[in-house]
């Protein structure tokens, strides 16, 4: 445990010296928190929401609105698009950190002296994975808390605010978020084992956001809507996917494999 923490601290000391990593970790949450709040502000104050009538919304979305007025429903619809985008944080931030931390060490050949110490490969992998996942998850959580408070201040309708912090969102942020972070770290480990440029590793690993983007556009286009049940299924599926990915990443992250097969 001790050594995992030692490794995590070293990763952070190193990786956050990289401007690009710092930028991703800071900029992404800023944008993703600011945009929905601005949207709430605009739609809430100008009364334009009524202009965005039920006809502009995918028909089935109204079902989700329950007792909300049409305006509130429209506002909820707009802002709820961001819930999926919030999930970009636990995906993109760990991918960036892990790519730089693993490919970086691979190219500077610092892994060999580390592997020569009594550290176990599992400790090393855990240290690196947690160093990548924790900032991603905590930034997501922090971002959501800021968003929730901001919404409270800005939104005119308490019904909308209530919906934005209901179990659906909470589960998405606090359960699905970390699960996504684990998946993205595992993918980054796998890609990093094959690639020698951290930027390439990062870009390739970013493919993990494709399913998310598909979901995002699917929702906008009205193919389906994120509801409690869907989130629950997502969580279950992710637990399975994570288990597989983690097992594979652990398999790849062995002393001999790293030294002789990672090219």
């Amino acid at each position: 445990m001790d050594k995992i923490w030692v490794i995590m601290r070293k990763e952070w000391a190193e990786v956050f010296k990289n401007r690009f990593v710092l930028f991703t970790v800071a900029f992404l949450p800023l944008i993703l928190v600011a945009l929905p709040l601005i949207l709430l502000q605009i739609t809430g104050s100008s009364g334009d929401v009524s202009g965005l009538s039920a006809t502009d919304m995918p028909a089935r979305f109204s079902e989700l609105c329950g007792e909300m007025s049409e305006g509130e429903c429209a506002q909820y619809f707009l802002v709820s698009q961001f819930m999926l985008l919030f999930m970009l944080m636990p995906l993109a931030i760990p991918v960036t950190i892990a790519s730089y931390s693993i490919v970086g060490e691979k190219t500077t050949r610092t892994l060999e002296p580390v592997l020569a110490t009594p550290v176990t490969t599992l400790e090393l992998l855990a240290g690196k994975a947690l160093a990548a996942a924790i900032p991603g998850v905590s930034v997501t959580w922090l971002g959501f808390v800021v968003f929730a408070f901001g919404a409270q201040l800005i939104a005119t309708s308490p019904a909308v605010v209530a919906r934005l912090t209901d179990p659906l969102w909470l589960m998405a942020i606090f359960v699905v978020g970390p699960l996504l972070a684990i998946a993205s770290v595992s993918v980054a480990v796998m890609i990093s084992s094959r690639v020698n440029d951290p930027r390439v590793a990062e870009q390739l690993s970013m493919l993990v956001i494709l399913p998310l983007l598909a979901a995002f556009f699917g929702q906008i286009a009205g193919f389906f809507f994120i509801n409690e049940r869907l989130i629950l299924w997502m969580a279950v599926a992710l637990v399975l996917i994570d288990t597989g990915l983690l097992a594979f990443a652990t398999q790849l992250f062995q002393r001999e494999t790293i030294l002789t097969r990672w090219k």
């Binding site: 050594k3 060999e112 002296p113 009594p118």
Partner: protein, 305 residues
Amino acid sequence: MIETQNLTKRFGDILAVDRLTLKVEAGEVFGFLGPNGAGKTTTIRMLTALISPTSGDAAVLGCEIGREDGQIRRQVGILTESPGLYDGLSAERNLEFFARLYEVEDIAEQVERYLRMLGLWDRRAEAAGTFSKGMRQKLAIARALLHEPQVLFLDEPTSALDPEAAHMVREFIASLKQEGRTIFLCTHNLDEADRLCDRIAVFNTRLLALDTPTDLRRQLYQRTVVFHLSQVEPRFVELVRGLPFIRTAMETEGKLLVALDDPERDNPTIVRTLVEAGAEVQFVGELRRSLEDIYLKLIKEEHQG
């Protein structure tokens, strides 16, 4: 301290180390000499429990590789082929990190001790990335020593350095020898092996020779005298070969080549014998083979064999 028995490593079709059997005594500086691609790094990696052998056994400090790897890693130090430092971190931070991984008790003290010993203390707060190659190598050596290993593996410690830095590093290795540590020194530099090592193994996938530098030198420096004759007749060769102190005699490129141990004492006899047999001696000279020639010959024979 280190014992191997038929240690072998294959990478797919490539045989990197072939049935290596050797024994390194405590307190010895053991030279592992071989050209690039000989399998030196592979051997070190097996002995430091980084990769596992395809077959054969080895034990370091009485711990068997493959069985007591944790124990081995705890007790040996390794200077890897490339220094592998965290360029963004300070010299001190680099060492601290490794001291923690090596479970060093008194981290601050050990880090300071080795930073001072290698002359890096004043620059401890500077990022390793700003260091010269020589300083980086010194920092990497400090890292290998933090946990006071009894056995130290050095993989080509001077090969990437300029002569001055290489000299400093060699001096330091010599001082480590004074402390009684066992050192396994990989190098492709003969001179370095000659100067630092108690024994030298010449290695190219297989073990080709293993001896003290003095004995190796005796073999390597076996002296050869060249006789330029106006005409080298076979009977001259036979005649010389018949002399008791001659090791070998042969004709090459119109010259008579004679190997013997003490030319100063025996050359006059050879000249007299030749002249009496009717040979016209034009020049007598010594063919001095450098260590390098012999070493290269060993390696070449290996390839042909």
